[in-house]
């Protein structure tokens, strides 16, 4: 009888090895599939048990914090309501995460890889996330929102020396606290004006004449033009075989480049663009960050490229479908994000060196150790310091005596450029723009402002005052 007993044991061993094989399958071989299964809510639920770190503004104002519920889980509160909704984003079980909450989910949930984090877990401490500090300025943000006054639009302001973003305003906004409720989330998703949409980084707008700053940078730094070079500012110039008119059909005749920027002469700048040429234009656009998702520490899905948009995709200036002359004055197929235009101003302001824009300065764990340390970094060397000085000089004239006088500040020299994109010529619907930096001699702030739709508004009259107010708030 012993033979069969041993064989029965053999069968048991086979059955048990099946158990090991299947346990291996779920724990190792098919682990990722199971964890990615949408029915598997473990990761999301586990995060509700974490005391997520707080997010604060530059002055220490709390923008997001966690509160403990009676059942031991945590939920998110946004004490400043909608003030920084688009930059900070949200973190709830149902809609998920967005903005900084999403981009810095790792540090905020204390999911650091370091030995100390692991040791802390071994010691059984409750997971506590790291606090996130940003450079955001609540006072200036409020000024920007007050300036937009409910009009759909966006304001982005940053420190050109570091790339730290101070203002990121997008209207309409929303109160992230309401996203706790599923029905409110659904309402916001379909609300008119798409309030969840971050217009500073996700909207693609025609930049209008503000783009002439890009053309000026390319023209001067490439050595093709000097601020004093003469160009033809005649009305009705043929650009790509089609006559182009100046605003108000003014025939300026021969003008120099500085005058052409001060008065925003379309025909002159279109010629400059054609003469500089598409490859050079594109080279400078690349240096400024065009044709790739705008540089900022926000999730990929919340960042959009700027550039010429043709047949459903972004193309380079050298593409046959781009009319480089009209592109040079901000028309044609250009679509830009407000943050990208703030970067253009910032590059000029920082003596040609474009700093990479970022929101969060650092993350600090509960023991006070810095776990994320975002130092200023150069995105590119756009132009020489002397070219930057020349462009600054031209932009100072715009605010001093040209189309941007409304951006002037008492006792502070401002450099800027207005823009007015035509949205609907028949109905006289325009999109005003203003990009600027100050003080012109040693800039500490660069800003871009746009209002999506106005009836007959101009950049110099509608957007420039907002830019001025934001800069003033940040400089004083």
């Amino acid at each position: 009888m012993n033979g069969p007993i041993v064989r029965v044991f053999g069968v048991v061993l086979v059955l048990f090895s099946l158990l090991v094989v299947f346990t291996t399958r779920w724990t190792v071989l098919e682990r990722d599939e199971l964890q990615d299964n949408p029915q598997n809510k473990r990761a999301l639920i586990a995060q509700q048990k974490i005391d997520r770190g707080a997010i604060s503004a530059a002055d220490g104002t709390t923008l997001a914090r966690s509160v403990r519920r009676s059942d031991g889980t945590y939920t998110r509160r946004y004490p400043q309501q909608g003030l920084f909704a688009h930059a900070v984003g949200y973190s709830y079980l149902n809609p998920g995460t967005a903005g900084l909450e999403r981009f810095y989910n790792g540090p905020l949930t204390g999911r650091g890889e370091g030995l100390r984090q692991t040791l802390r877990r071994l010691q059984g401490e409750r997971p506590q996330g790291d606090d996130l500090r940003t450079a955001l300025d609540p006072a200036a943000q409020q000024v920007a929102l007050d300036g937009l006054a409910g009009r759909t639009g966006a304001v982005a302001a940053l420190d050109p020396r570091t790339g730290r973003i101070k203002v990121m305003a997008s209207v309409p906004g929303y109160d992230p606290n309401v996203l706790r409720s599923a029905s409110a989330t659904a309402r916001l998703n379909t609300a008119p004006g798409s309030p969840l949409f971050n217009r500073t980084t996700q909207a693609g707008y025609p930049p209008g004449s503000t783009f002439k700053v890009v053309t000026a940078i390319a023209a001067i730094d490439s050595g093709t033009f000097e601020p004093g070079s003469t160009v033809d500012g005649s009305n009705g110039a043929e650009i790509s075989g089609v006559p182009l008119n100046n605003v108000g059909n003014v025939d300026y005749g021969p003008v120099d480049l500085t005058f052409a920027l001060t008065k925003s002469v379309n025909t002159a700048w279109a010629r400059v663009g054609e003469e500089v040429g598409a490859p050079t234009m594109q080279r400078y656009m690349d240096r400024l960050g065009f044709n790739r998702p705008v540089q900022v520490d926000l999730p990929e899905s919340e960042r959009r490229p700027s550039g010429s948009f043709c047949k459903g995709r972004f193309v380079r200036a050298t593409n046959p479908c781009v009319d480089v002359g009209r592109m040079a004055i901000g028309q044609d197929k250009l679509q830009v994000t407000p943050l990208q235009m703030a970067m253009v101003a910032s590059a000029v302001a920082n003596r040609g060196r474009l700093m990479r824009p970022y929101l969060a300065t650092r993350a600090i764990d509960p023991d006070g150790r810095v776990t994320v340390d975002n130092q200023p970094s150069e995105f590119s060397e756009v132009m020489s310091a002397s070219s930057a000085r020349k462009v600054t000089e031209m932009m100072t004239r715009v605010v001093g005596e040209g189309t941007g006088t409304a951006a002037a500040l008492q006792g502070i020299e401002v450099a800027g450029k207005s823009g007015t994109a035509e949205r609907d010529v028949q109905a006289n619907i325009t999109q005003p723009w203003f990009i600027a930096f100050a003080p012109a001699s040693s800039p500490r702030v660069a800003v871009a402002v746009t209002i999506e739709r106005t009836v007959g508004g101009f950049g110099g009259t509608d957007a420039a005052p907002i830019a001025a107010a934001v800069m003033e708030s940040l400089l004083r």
């Binding site: 009888m1 012993n2 033979g3 069969p4 007993i5 041993v6 064989r7 029965v8 044991f9 069968v11 048991v12 061993l13 059955l15 048990f16 099946l18 158990l19 090991v20 299947f22 346990t23 291996t24 399958r25 779920w26 724990t27 190792v28 098919e30 682990r31 199971l34 964890q35 299964n37 029915q39 598997n40 473990r42 639920i45 586990a46 509700q48 048990k49 519920r69 059942d71 031991g72 889980t73 877990r121 071994l122 010691q123 059984g124 401490e125 409750r126």
Partner: protein, 431 residues
């Protein structure tokens, strides 16, 4: 070193395990190293020592490793249950004590276990009665579609856990008598027993099928029938019997799977656990899907003692985590490595069981040891296999680990019987 001294020494790792386990859970839940873990470890050691002394007194020659291995499993169970719910753990600890008492009682009362043979028909009838008890109106209780529990006033128990012991005692005795008759007739070289000898076996098959339908529990029925086939094979040494039995069982199972709604649902939930329809249905595949998610969460090394996500606030996350899904919790917290270690302990237990069967001198003892061991092994396979999607998930307990008084008490009686057989076999071998 004598067998008993080896047993004594082997209890040390089990005690260390429970002490360390409780310490880990304490640290996790209370953020402090409580000396209570030492207290619990000491109490556990004390209880095991008491049982050990009884073994030393009554069964000096019994297998030295079986009891310590079982103690290891029990300590893993206590720690895991404590981690899930400390009230349940206290109850389980009480059941552990009662289990040990019954274990000791069995050792003392049944020194000569062969007297059981005298009452085999009584035992068989009693076991059948026990099995059908859950269907008796008023005291029977349906859990997840299966009729496994009985509730009489404050006492609730699962009669199948005890019935399995009785049926195996009966079969061991019955097969000892008929094994030669079963293989006596050959037709064309194949063993074909006479119908009158085969009859009782068909009755057992019928019984398994009835269990499938009346108690609606595929797991228990597989366990009983598998144990029976193993004993039949050991008794006759003819492969044709278990093969024919398996075929019959498969045919029956297939028939019921395609006709009985409850069985059908279970099989569908098993095959496609992530089907949204089945996932959301009450009694659907949610439990299995969650079990698999929990295991994926554990990975190779696990989340650590007390770290697994088992409830959200006050709502349990894994259904029946302390009974059916305890293996999923083990995988979640201790990972593949820890789960394999637990399975290895079971393999060692089963190995000791079969070794006892091999060493036993008489047919009844061999068959009894084989049957008891096989049933324990199959019970592990049925529940772990169900939790890991090898077979449809049915609610049986993981022996010595799952929460459940009937289970732990019945399994301690099985261990007592195995030790009794072992003691006699080794004593006779020495003499």
């Amino acid at each position: 070193m004598s067998a008993r001294n080896r047993e004594l020494l082997a209890l040390v790792p089990a005690t260390l395990l429970i002490t360390a386990g409780f310490a880990a859970v304490f640290v996790q839940e209370r953020e402090l190293v409580a000396d209570a873990s030492l207290t619990y470890g000491a109490i556990f050691l004390g209880l095991c020592l008491a049982a050990h002394l009884v073994i030393r007194w009554r069964l000096p020659d019994a297998d030295p490793y079986l009891f310590p291995l079982v103690a290891v499993l029990a300590s893993v169970g206590l720690v895991m249950i404590y981690r899930l719910d400390d009230t349940l753990a206290r109850e389980q600890a009480q059941w552990f004590v009662i289990g040990l008492l019954l274990f000791v009682a069995t050792l003392v009362v049944l020194r000569d276990y062969r007297v059981l043979e005298r009452y085999r028909y009584l035992i068989a009838a009693g076991s059948l009665l026990l099995l059908l008890l859950p269907r008796v109106p008023g005291i029977g209780a349906q859990v997840n579609g299966a009729y496994l529990g009985v509730e009489v006033g404050p006492v609730a128990f699962q009669p199948a856990e005890f019935a399995k012991i009785g049926i195996i005692i009966f079969l061991a005795s019955y097969l000892r008598d008929t094994r030669s008759l079963l293989v006596s007739r050959k037709i064309a070289g194949i063993t074909v027993p006479r119908l009158k000898h085969l009859g009782p076996l068909l009755v057992v098959w019928g019984l398994a099928m009835v269990m499938l339908v009346f108690i609606r529990d595929l797991g228990s029925s597989l366990m009983f029938f598998g144990g029976f086939l193993a004993m039949l094979y050991v008794a006759t040494d003819r492969l044709v019997f278990p093969l024919a039995g398996l075929t019959l069982f498969a045919a029956g199972a297939w028939f019921f799977a395609s006709t009985v709604g409850h069985v059908q649902d279970r099989i569908q939930a098993w095959q496609t656990p992530f089907d949204p329809d089945l996932y959301d249905r009450i009694g659907g595949s949610y439990q299995l899907a969650q079990s698999l998610f929990a295991q994926a969460d554990g990975g190779l090394w696990g989340q650590g003692f007390g770290q697994a996500l088992v409830r959200l606030g006050d709502t349990p996350f894994l259904p029946a985590a302390q009974t059916d899904l305890i293996y999923a919790v083990i995988v979640n917290e201790l990972g593949l490595i820890g789960a394999c270690a637990v399975l290895l302990v079971y393999v060692l237990v089963v190995e000791r069981g079969f070794r006892i069967a091999v060493l036993a001198r008489d047919s009844f003892s061999k068959l009894l040891a084989t049957g008891l061991t096989t049933v324990v092994a199959l019970q592990v396979f049925v529940i772990v296999g169900g939790v890991t999607k090898v077979i449809p998930l049915t609610g049986v307990t993981l022996p010595f680990v799952s929460y459940g008084g009937s289970s732990i008490v019945a399994n301690f009686v099985i261990v007592a019987l195995l030790l009794l057989i072992s003691d006699r076999a080794r004593r006779e071998a020495r003499a």
